[in-house]
Amino acid sequence: MVSLTKEQSVQEKLKILTDAAKYDVACTSSGVDRRGTSDGVHGNGIGNSINAGICHSFSGDGRCISLLKILFTNECIYDCKYCINRKSNDVPRASFTPDEVCKLTIEFYRRNYIEGLFLSSGILYNPTYTMELLYQTLYKLRTVYHFLGYIHVKAIPGADPLLIEKIGFLADRMSINLELPTAEGLKNIAPNKNRKLILGPMRQIQNGITQSKNELAVYRNAPRFVAGGQSTQMIIGATNEQDYQILQVSEGLYQKFGLKRVFYSAFVNVNEDKALPATIGGPPLLREHRLYQADWLLRFYGFKAQELLDEQHPNLNVLLDPKEDWAVRHLEAFPVEVNRADLHTLLRVPGIGVKSATRIVKARLSARLTFEDLKKLGVTLKRALYFITCNGRMMYPTKLSEDYIVRQLTDSVKRVNFGSDGMSYRQMSLFDDYHVNAAPDIITLKKAAGGEF
C-alpha cells in the first residue's frame, strides 16, 4: 500500500487513528499493581499502575477515557463488513511511527491525561509484519522511554506465536477480539478471519499467563506475562444470535480460557453495508446493557448462563434486569431472611449487590439488622423488599406472586429507558418505546412483563 498523500502531521494522524480505534470497547486500566519507585522517592522511569484502574476523562458518549486508544495504522488488507477501516472503504489512511506513539504516550502521561497506551492496528501487509511493528513500539516505550504505566495491546490473529509471546512480556493486558459469538456469523461478516485463528492465540496467551504465575510463585522476580489478564470483545446485534448463545459463549470464555473480561459492543452500522442490519433507531444499547448486567451476574454473583436463560426463554428481559427476571421466576427461593442467609443467597436477591451483601454479612455480626439499617448499608429496598424478610417480617405486606411483583417492579416511573438519545428517565410507554401500534390486550401485557417475548 503506497500513500499518495503528502506527509501528515501528528495531529492529523492522531485524529484519523483515534477515530478508527473508537469502536473498540476495552478502555480499562485495571488488574495490575506496579510501583514506579522502590521506596516512594527514587525511581528511574515514569509511571506506575494501580489495581483498580483509573479513568482520566469521559467522552461525550459517557465512556471512560483511560488509555490513549489508537490504531498503529488503519491501512488494512482485510475486508470485514462491519469495520470502518476495511479495505473497500474510502477513508483517509495514516500510520504512526513507533517513535511518534512513544512520544505521544509519554507527553500525555506526564500531564496525567491518560493511564497508558491501548494499541491496536489494521493489518498492514500481513499479520506478522503488523505485530512486529507493535512489538517495536512497545519495546521502545518500555526500554528507551522507561515507561512503567499500563499497556493494553491487541494480539493480531494469524501473527507468529513467537511475537505474541515476546509482546506478552511487555504488555499488561492483551486481547483478541472474538468479534462475533458464532463461527458462522464470523464467516459471513468477516471473510478473512476464522474462529481457529482467533482461539489459537487466545489459548497461547492463557497458557503463558498460567506458566508465568507458576514461575512467579517460585522466582519472585520472574518476568510477568500479561499480568492484567486477557480480554475480548463481541459485537452485539450485527448477526441474529440470541442472548442465550452469547452468554454461553462468554461463560465458556471465562471458564475455559480464563478471560478477565468479555466486552459487548452494540453494533453501529458505520458502513451501511447491505448485508448487515440497519441501526436507524440507534445502536441496541439496552441489549448491550442487559448483557453486561448478565455478565456481572456470571462473574461476581455465582450465576450460570443456564439459570438466566434457556432455549424457551432465549433473550434477556427488556423490562426487568436479569436478576429480577431470575428472581420472579424462582419465587420458591424467597423470601430470604437477611439476618441469617449466607452470602451466596444474599447475592441472589435483587437490590442487593456485592458490596451491600458483604456489608450485611459483616454488620450482622455485631447487631440485628432492621430495614432501616439495610437502607444505610446501601440496599435498594425499592427492589429488594419483595424478596427479603428482616427478623421474620417483610417490610410491607406483599404477595409472593410473580404477576404482582412484576407489576410492582415495572410500575415505578423511574425505570431506566435507553434510547438513541441516551438515557432518559421519563415513563416508558409500550407505544412509543417498543413500537406497539395497537393497544395490547391484558394477556400480552402480562406476557411482556413476565419476559415471554
Binding site: 476523562s57 458518549d61 465512556r63 452494540a266
Partner: protein, 262 residues
Amino acid sequence: MDTILVCPHSLEGVFTAIYIAYRDKMVHDNTHIQTQLEQELETQRVLFSEYREIQPDEELFGKVRRTLIERIGWEVYEQICEAMAMEKPGMADSVYHTVVKALSKGPNTGCYVLQNLTDPYIHKVAMASQNVWREIHHLMGFVRFEELAGEEPILYSQIGPKNNVVTFLAPHFADRFPMENFMLHDCKRGIFVVHPKNQPWYVRLEQGVNSIILPPVTKEEETYRELFREFCQSIMIQSRRNDKLQRQMLPIRFREFMVEFS
C-alpha cells in the same frame, strides 16, 4: 453535664483531644470533640456544656497515632484519616467515638470496628471515608498537569476538591513521576504539595495568598493540549452520545480544571 473539647480541624488536633479525654478519664458518652472549623459551619452552641480548648501537641498526637495503628491496623487507620479530610460538622466527634469503640473491645478486634455500620458514629466515619476515597480516586485521574518553563520544566496542577485530599494524592503522583518536578495546588485551601525531582515531597501552606506568580507554560504545552482535545473529540461515538451519563461519571465541578473542557 457534657464536656466539649474544641480543637483545630486536623488529625493532630483531634488525636490530641482524644488523648486528653482518655488521660483525664472523661466519661466518653458525655464527652464530645468539636473542631473550630465545625464550629464555624454550625454556629449553634449547646447549653449547659463545658467548652474546653485543646492545643494540638505533636507528642500526644504521635502517641495516639502509634496506639491506633497498633490496635486497629493500618487500613482502618487510613480510613479514619480519610474521614477527617471531610470538613463536615460532627466528623471529629464521630471519629472520637469510633476510636473509643475500637479500643474498648478486646485485642485483635479493633480492625473490624468499621464493619459495625449500624452504629451511627461508625456509619458516619465509614461513609465519609468512602466518600473521600472516591474523590481521591477521581482526582488521581482528573488532575491535569501543565508544563511550566524554567531551567527544568515543572509540572503544575491546580485543583479545587470538596474534601481536603491533596496530601492523599501526593504519594500516588510521587510514585508515578519520581523524576519530575511537580506541584499540586489546592486553590480552595491554599495548600501546595511540592515534589522536587528524586526527592521526597512536602507540603507548603500559603493560606490567604490570592494569586501566585507562576512562570509561563512551555512552547509545546499548547500543542499537547490541542492534541488531547482533538483526541477526546475523535474518541466519541456520535450515535451513542449521552451527555447525562458523561455528567454522572465526570461531575461538572471537576471540569473547571481540565484542559479538554476549557
